[in-house]
């Protein structure tokens, strides 16, 4: 069974010629329709997230300013990110859709959920919207689960690093954040050495890959780097920042995946869930409408019916050594930080960590 939460953003939050546009939602919905799921598809309407839900991951001052900015008509947040008079309402409903999806899965106890919303969320930091994102949808859902005592895995296969999600959960030991992303590329964070804060060493996991990387490289990252960390972590829920801009047709980046690769990634990620009915995918990026439609169908088809994807998976691109290097760099960073902690524990002295960019340093 597939639970579809939303849609949000099919008409509102429209930046004109901007690539993050309402037509993306129609393309994703068309991808769902292509599966012809019949009674196996259950649609649940989004509801606005409550302020307390948002305050788990965003500063109240930022929420107030963003709402006020949108109510006044909006404008440009930065060179990439726009706000319109309908953006606040859309963003709050997008953030609430994940909560609705979780409730639906808790009731059904089976299947997976797809949260079809925009604006996307994974770049949004505690006190700042950026990279097309205003509120961090996947983080709102993960924080709600953590508040109920759950351990949450977030897999982010969007082509861009989810700096906002990483920042929000930097010191949260009950959230394991795993990201594969093109490097170098916006936002410039997501190095393997970024492993989480002193209270959560190892719960941030980054595998940057070079332009041209194919699906087999991302699967290698999942199998060789992510899987051992996930097994040790033991998640109760698996949330996916499900961007489709790593597709080879996407105009915003240069990875070389096909829809068939997203199907394979979905199967791998679903296997991380320890129980049925504990997998939620959140639409993030993906700016070629045909690729978005095909990738949506392939991803969800792999989860609810094992339908064959419209494109075959890809092999042979660069990045295999980058994955191995990321594993080494991550392991070294964890050992070094752990050694420092052990050394100062014996002295009963505090270890301080200089803030890193995008990890709360701006607050």
């Amino acid at each position: 069974m597939l639970i579809l939460a939303g849609p949000v953003g099919e008409r509102e939050h429209d930046g004109g010629s901007h690539p993050e546009r309402p037509a993306r939602i129609r393309a994703a919905l068309d991808g769902v329709s292509d599966l012809r799921l019949g009674s196996d598809l259950v649609t649940v309407a989004a509801r606005p997230a409550q302020r307390d839900d948002l305050l788990r991951v965003h500063d109240g001052e930022y929420l107030d300013e963003l709402e006020s900015f949108s109510r006044r008509g909006g404008g440009a947040l930065d060179a990439d990110t726009y706000v319109t008079d309908t953006s606040w309402d859309a963003a709050v409903r997008a953030a609430g859709a994940g909560l609705v999806a979780i409730e639906a899965l808790e009731s059904s106890g089976e299947g997976a959920a797809f949260v079809v919303v925009r604006p996307p969320g994974h770049h949004a930091q505690r006190d700042r919207g950026m990279g097309f994102c205003l509120l961090n949808n996947v983080a709102v859902a993960a924080a709600a689960l953590v508040a109920k005592g759950a351990r949450v895995l977030i897999v982010d296969w969007d082509v861009h690093h989810g700096n906002g999600t990483q920042e929000i959960f930097w010191d949260e030991p009950d959230v394991l954040y795993v990201s594969t992303h093109q490097w170098p590329l916006y936002p410039g964070t997501g190095r393997p050495e970024e492993i989480g804060g002193l209270d959560a060493i190892g719960t941030t996991l980054n595998v940057p890959v070079p332009p041209g990387a194919t699906g087999d490289v991302l699967l290698q990252a999942m199998d060789e780097v992510a899987a051992p960390a996930v097994e040790a972590f033991g998640p109760d829920w698996v949330l996916v920042s499900c961007g489709f801009d790593a597709h080879r047709a996407d105009p915003l980046a240069e990875l070389a995946l096909t829809s068939g690769d997203f199907a394979a990634l979905a199967r791998r990620t679903a296997a991380f869930a320890r129980s049925p009915g504990r997998l939620v995918l959140f639409l993030e990026g993906g700016y070629d409408l045909q690729a978005l439609r095909q990738s949506t169908a392939a991803t969800l088809g792999a989860l609810v019916g094992d339908l064959p994807p419209p494109e075959p998976p890809t092999f042979g691109g660069p990045g295999s050594e980058a994955v191995r290097s990321a594993a080494r760099d991550r392991r070294r960073a964890i050992e070094e930080l752990s050694d420092r902690l052990l050394a100062v524990d014996s002295l009963d002295a505090p270890v301080t960590e200089r803030p890193r960019w995008g990890l709360g340093g701006a607050r």
Binding site: P19, D59, E61, Y62, E65, L66, F69, L77, D78, A79, D80, D127, R128, G129, M130, G131, F132, H160, N163, P184, L185, Y186, P187, G188, T189, P251, L252, A253, R354, P355, R356, W357, G358, L359, G361, A362
Partner: protein
């Protein structure tokens, strides 16, 4: 403490970044320091979808006008958010000894520092100078 020999300045063609570049270039000229003009490439610019008024020639002209020898000016383009790019540079090999940025309107702190400036001040391992726009400075 000695005077900085390597200065990095964030530049995106905005009035705020031009003010920062002018200030940094004046300092570099006076100290005979090298200046690295850093432009961070965002999502839209990476895809060729943004026509930002960013010109290397203009940046070099501003530096030259402040008395910096052309050989001491380096134009540097990096992928990322301006804050992450400048922090990464400061943590990398051959880091700058001073970072200079301008200010943009901050949604959360209107009238105060922009979020890039605030984040840099918090995380950069070297001194950071935040230059106000010309109208506020006057």
């Amino acid at each position: 403490m000695r005077a900085p020999a390597r200065i990095a300045v964030g530049y995106d063609g905005s009035p705020g970044s031009e003010a920062a570049l002018r200030w940094a270039a004046a300092l570099a000229g006076a100290l005979e320091a090298a200046i690295k003009v850093v432009h961070a490439v965002g999502l839209l610019e990476h895809a060729g979808l943004a026509s930002l008024s960013v010109h290397e020639d203009r940046a070099r002209a501003i530096a030259a006008g402040a008395g910096v020898e052309p050989s001491r000016v380096e134009w540097c383009v990096l992928e990322g958010d301006p804050g992450s790019v400048l922090c990464r540079m400061a943590e990398g090999p051959d880091p700058p000894e001073l970072i200079v940025v301008g200010t943009r309107r901050s949604l959360v702190h209107p009238g105060l520092l922009g979020s890039t400036s605030l984040g840099l001040v918090a995380c950069a391992p070297v001194p950071v100078v935040v230059v106000p726009p010309a109208d506020r400075a006057s």
